[in-house]
């Protein structure tokens, strides 16, 4: 191993050592960014941030500083995590970039195509020395990344906002732009015309690339690589543009120079190519992947001088070098192959005059070589570059890493300063203790609960007088009465004739009509009361609605019902949960048990009144009524008497149904009043009971996490977010200062 190789290997090893430290630093900054993000919700409620002297704009600034630090550290990480020395090959298209890469890598025209007169490499490649692997791994686009990275930049370049929203839409379009007038205008423009033509090529060849948009990594043998990364031949009638589907190619192959240290060759996107955002991608590549950039310049007859385009390309390198010295980071490679020496001399003179301020290699080292000859390239280019890097890499690493660390430290100081100011401001603000917090939370729940329960009660109050609420019950009651009347008209279950036959038989047996009549009336009375209870189904449904309304009005307490849909089950579950609390809440439990115990059936509501209405059917009522009844039940002991008795009992029964029906019509209002009374009593107990506040505090204490699943909201609810804010700021301060000191 040469001295150079050893030096470079040492640099790479030193880099590896720094990786954990950089990772640690990145983690710390990520935490800082996360803590800063946690400050943002405090700006939403209660103006807590303002009280700490922080504004939303401050948060944005601080977050920007953290983001910048993370970005800088990311670049450092890219640098120190490299296991190769990466040489980026840049330059305007058609200057011999690919030829240089071939000479350096040993790949041939099938893998790194070169062409005459037009650019041929369509995909950005990274080529690594490997004696074990001899293949290319292609990463393909997903449809989404294709849209974002390939298609949309064109539309953005054209100033078209309404780009196709998906690939299907794009391929189904008759042309790439629906606005033909715009298309004509763009086509006529020398800057956009070629871009439009390129987009149309993409559109026309969709059948050749679209199927590869899987996002998958594809391993391709090197002899098949060309079709994946090169532009198709111009003469092709149906050009295969599958290269469009390839996002990146990583090629492993044995480099001819076997003693080479780990080298990576980075084919930077061709400058001046007809693709949008070319520069942006170029810089990104320089930033993340490259230790040194070789700018290839081929001084042909028409390209012998250092042009503005060349200067701009160099400027990109300048922008990407960061803290590294330009002379360390970039070199100009003059490709002397097939060139008139006069042109080479002219370029040399021009570089010396205009680039290096008349002092050779003052700012850029200029190398000269026929890049098509591998042997020359290895000696005149690679050896020189590696020698340079052996000395320059440690300088560049120190400069880049040092600069990043310095800027991170400045950012940290700025953030620490603001956090300290905020903490100082907060010291002047009184914040509640944890027990005060709990009480405040309980009160907020109580206030919220009182409000929603009062809404529920207002609804129930409204229902006392609402016709539509009673109508459903009344129509059910009408059905029930119609059923009972049908039973009466059907001879009380026996049939009119049979009833009268039985009556005559009884008259004969007892020589009296009244015993049978009395028994008949008693039977009818009992049966009526029983049958009227059929309205209970509507009442039970009404009660279920009542409970559902309550569950709906529980607010945060409602989380204790879990996701039970049946309101009774939900409330029962809540009661169970409350019962199992470590700190008992007997009054609250009792309030819920009370409201679960509401009785809303026919018997409870109106049976006494119905019994009164059915007094009519007693065979021997007291006083004058008794005289009337006796006169009605005394009939002759024959069929005529039985028919008369049947008529009278039927009339009495029908009146019994009617009179009890009157009572039934009072049920909706009574039910509504009962529910209202239960609701009011429940609300009174829960909100204003002697132990109400204490018990609610216990519930809040036990279920705080469930009741406020979103962090910070609980505090906002009682206006004590300051305490939380102080906690976050303290964390931030510790992360920024104490740990840093420890690390230092």
């Amino acid at each position: 191993m040469s001295q150079t190789s050893r030096k470079i290997s040492a640099v790479l090893e030193r880099r590896q050592v720094q990786l954990p430290l950089v990772d640690h630093e990145i983690a710390r900054w990520n935490k800082i960014a996360e803590l800063l993000a946690r400050l943002r919700p405090f700006g939403v409620d209660d103006h807590v941030l303002e009280r700490a002297g922080l504004l939303d704009a401050d948060l944005s600034d601080l977050a920007g500083l953290a983001a910048e630090s993370i970005l800088l550290l990311g670049r450092v990480r890219s640098r120190v995590s490299r296991r190769t020395v990466n040489i980026g090959v840049s330059g305007q298209a058609r200057n011999g970039k690919s030829t240089l890469l071939r000479s350096l890598s040993g790949l041939d025209d099938d893998q790194v195509p070169t062409g005459k007169g037009r650019p041929v490499t369509a995909v950005r490649s990274r080529i690594f020395h490997s004696t074990e692997h001899h293949n290319a791994r292609l990463t393909t686009h997903t449809e989404s990344s294709f849209l974002d990275e390939v298609l949309y930049p064109y539309y953005a370049e054209f100033g078209v906002v309404a780009a196709p929203s998906n690939l299907g839409e794009f391929t189904a379009m008759p042309d790439v732009l629906s606005d033909t007038a715009l298309a004509d205008r763009l086509a006529a423009d020398p800057r956009t015309g070629p871009l439009l033509a390129r987009l149309r090529e993409i559109h026309a060849s969709a059948h050749t690339w679209r199927r590869f948009l899987t996002g998958a990594a594809v391993d391709v043998p090197l002899d098949e690589l060309r079709t994946w990364i090169a532009y198709p031949a111009e003469e092709s009638a149906d050009p295969d543009r599958r290269y469009l589907a390839v996002r990146e190619a990583v090629i492993h192959c044995p480099f001819p120079r076997t003693d080479a240290v780990a080298i990576g060759l980075i084919d930077l996107p061709g400058l001046g190519e007809l693709t949008p955002r070319a520069e942006e991608r170029h810089i990104a590549g320089l930033h993340n992947d490259v230790d040194l950039v070789l700018m290839v310049k081929w001084p042909t007859d028409t390209n012998a001088l250092w042009t503005t385009a060349d200067a701009m390309a160099m400027d990109l390198a300048n922008k990407a070098r960061g803290a590294a010295a330009m002379r360390d980071f970039a070199m100009i490679q003059v490709n002397t192959g097939q060139c008139d020496p006069a042109n080479v001399a002219a370029l040399r003179a021009d570089l010396s005059e205009r680039v290096n301020n008349r002092t050779d290699d003052a700012y850029f080292r200029v190398l000269e070589a026929d890049v098509a000859v591998p042997e020359i390239v290895r000696e005149a280019v690679l050896d020189t570059v590696l020698d340079h890097l052996a000395d320059a890499l440690p300088r560049m690493d120190a400069a880049v890493i040092g600069d990043a660390m310095e800027r991170c430290a400045r950012n940290r100081d700025t953030i620490v300063g603001r956090v300290r100011e905020a903490l100082r401001a907060m010291r002047k603000v009184v914040t509640p203790t944890s027990s005060e917090t709990l009480v405040a939370l309980a009160r907020s729940v109580q206030a919220e609960l009182a409000q929603s329960l009062q809404g529920w009660i207002a609804d129930l109050e409204d229902q006392v007088s609402r016709d539509d609420v009673s109508d459903s019950f009344l129509s059910r009651a009408q059905e029930v009465r119609a059923d009972i009347r049908a039973w009466i008209d059907g001879g009380f279950g026996d049939g009119p004739e049979r009833w009268q036959e039985l009556a005559v038989e009884d008259f004969s047996r007892k020589k009296a009509s009244r015993p049978f009549a009395a028994a008949a009336l008693n039977g009818v009375r009992v049966e009526l009361a029983r049958r009227l209870a059929a309205v209970d189904d509507v009442l039970l449904a009404r009660r279920a609605e009542f409970w559902a309304g309550l569950v709906g009005g529980l607010g945060r307490l409602g989380v204790l019902c879990a996701d039970e849909h049946d309101p009774h089950t939900a409330l029962t579950r809540l009661v169970d949960v409350l019962r199992e609390l470590p700190e008992p809440c007997p009054a609250t439990v009792e309030a819920f048990e009370f409201v679960l115990d509401v009785r809303l059936d026919f018997r409870t509501l109106v049976l006494p009144d119905v019994r009164d209405a059915l007094q009519l059917l007693y065979p021997e009522p007291p006083g004058e009524d008794g005289v009337h009844m006796a006169s009605l039940l005394g009939v002759t002991h024959d069929a005529r008497g039985a028919a008369l008795l049947y008529q009278r009992v039927t009339q009495l029964a029908r009146q019994g149904v009617h009179d009890s029906g009157r009572v039934m019509t009072t049920i909706p209002e009574r039910a509504a009043k009962v529910l209202l009374a239960f609701a009011e009593q429940f609300e009174d107990t829960l909100i204003r009971g002697k132990e109400a506040e204490n018990e609610l505090a216990r519930v809040v204490d036990a279920f705080r996490d469930q009741m406020w699943p979103v962090e910070g909201k609980a505090d906002a609810a009682v206006g004590i977010g300051l305490q939380r804010l102080r906690g976050v700021l303290a964390d931030l301060h510790a992360t920024l200062s104490d740990e840093w000191k420890a690390a230092a």
Partner: protein, 379 residues
């Protein structure tokens, strides 16, 4: 010819106005039993009453009481009744009761009815002169509602808008004659179910009915009070049992031919055999008698006082042949008896006539003074 005391009656059809009149006469007759005074109806009126009684008798015999069986009319009916001396029929206090459809107050309705066109002017004349306006109320329609729709239909079935208009009109006209009596009788009929004082404990005390009448007829009461700015109107609440032996058995609101809900009712007899037990019907006669007696006393007071102004007033009134004071002077204050005496001049009957006149006057006084039914309230 001097005209009788006038009474107007307005209410929906089929409420039982003929039955009401029959009950009024029957109960008044009961009160007069033992006196030489009787209640008599003119021939036409008697015929109507007889038809009504016959139908009731049939129903009693069949023990099946159907309201629909008692015919109702949609036209003007005049009832002429009088309190008269049994043996001197020319001595009497006559009453003309006009029952007219309230709907006729609507000019459109009148235009559509030939009978209305012919009789409306006479109706108005009668209403204007009526010392009493009787508003019969179907108690079942009033009480047997439970839903909002039924309560809305009740307004139509009770003819409330028409009743309000008639009362307003009558009260306004009465306002023009502040010295004459003005009595508004609200008379719920078929009330047996809503009282427990006439044969059966129904669970109702009567209070419920009165409350409902006050609420539902509030506009009627206000119309009477608002219009009578110059004089009070005596408002009498008289819930009447025209039978006493029937009781509402079933009531059902169903859509009627006009689309609005209509109440179908069925009644049953309370005992076997059913016994008629009228309540509060004589209130109408008693109130009339009381008004007449009061007015007569006032006239006599004026006579005695004899101040110039009052004499002038009296003279003016006595020139009237029509109207209340004409009837008062002629039938009650002695002119009729003088006429009768003139006819019988020089005979031994003269003393009898004078005695009968005194008896008639005494009967009026007695009826006026007779204890009102406990149910009756003065509002």
């Amino acid at each position: 010819m001097t005209q009788p005391f006038k009474v107007a009656m307005v209410g929906p059809t089929a409420v039982g106005k003929t039955t009401l009149l029959s009950a009024i006469l029957d109960q008044t007759q009961t009160l007069l039993n033992g006196t030489p005074i009787e209640v008599a109806a003119a021939e036409e009126t008697e015929r109507k009453l007889a038809t009504n009684r016959k139908e009731l008798a049939k129903a009693l015999a069949a023990e099946e009481f159907e309201v629909a069986a008692l015919r109702s009319t949609q036209q003007v009916t005049n009832y002429d009744v009088r309190l008269r001396s049994i043996d001197v029929p020319s001595l009497s206090v006559p009453f003309a009761i006009l029952d007219f459809p309230g709907g006729w107050l609507d000019p459109d309705a009148r235009a559509g009815s030939p009978q209305a066109g012919a009789q409306w002017a006479r109706c108005m004349d009668h209403i204007q002169q009526s010392m009493m306006l009787v508003v019969p109320i179907d108690a079942a329609v009033l009480m047997e509602t439970s839903t909002g729709k039924e309560r809305a239909a009740r307004v139509v079935r009770l003819g409330l808008p028409e009743v309000v208009e008639v009362v307003r009109k009558w009260a306004r006209l009465r306002n023009q004659v502040p010295d004459e009596p003005a009595i508004l009788v609200l008379a719920p009929l078929k009330c047996e179910k809503y009282f427990s004082d006439n044969g059966r404990d129904t669970g109702f005390t009567g209070h419920e009915l009165a409350t409902e009448v006050r609420a539902v007829y509030e506009d009627v009461l206000n119309a009477a009070r608002d219009q009578a700015s110059l004089r009070p109107i005596r408002i009498v609440y008289a819930p009447i049992d025209t039978y006493g032996c029937v009781e509402l058995m079933e009531a059902c609101w169903e859509p009627g031919p006009d689309g609005d809900l209509k109440l179908t009712t069925r009644y049953r007899f309370r005992g076997a055999p059913p016994k008629i037990s009228i309540r509060a019907a004589s209130t109408v006669t008693q109130e009339l008698c009381q008004a007449i007696v009061t007015a007569r006393r006032a006239e006599e007071e004026l006579d005695r006082a004899g101040t110039l102004r009052r004499v002038d007033a009296l003279t003016g009134r006595r020139d009237q042949k029509k109207g209340f004071f004409g009837a008062l002077r002629y039938f009650v204050s002695g002119e009729a008896s003088k006429v009768a005496a003139g006819i019988e001049s020089g005979t031994s009957r003269l003393a009898v006539i004078e005695q009968r006149h005194r008896q008639l006057a005494a009967a009026l006084e007695a009826l006026a003074a007779h204890q009102q039914d406990d149910r009756v309230e003065i509002w």
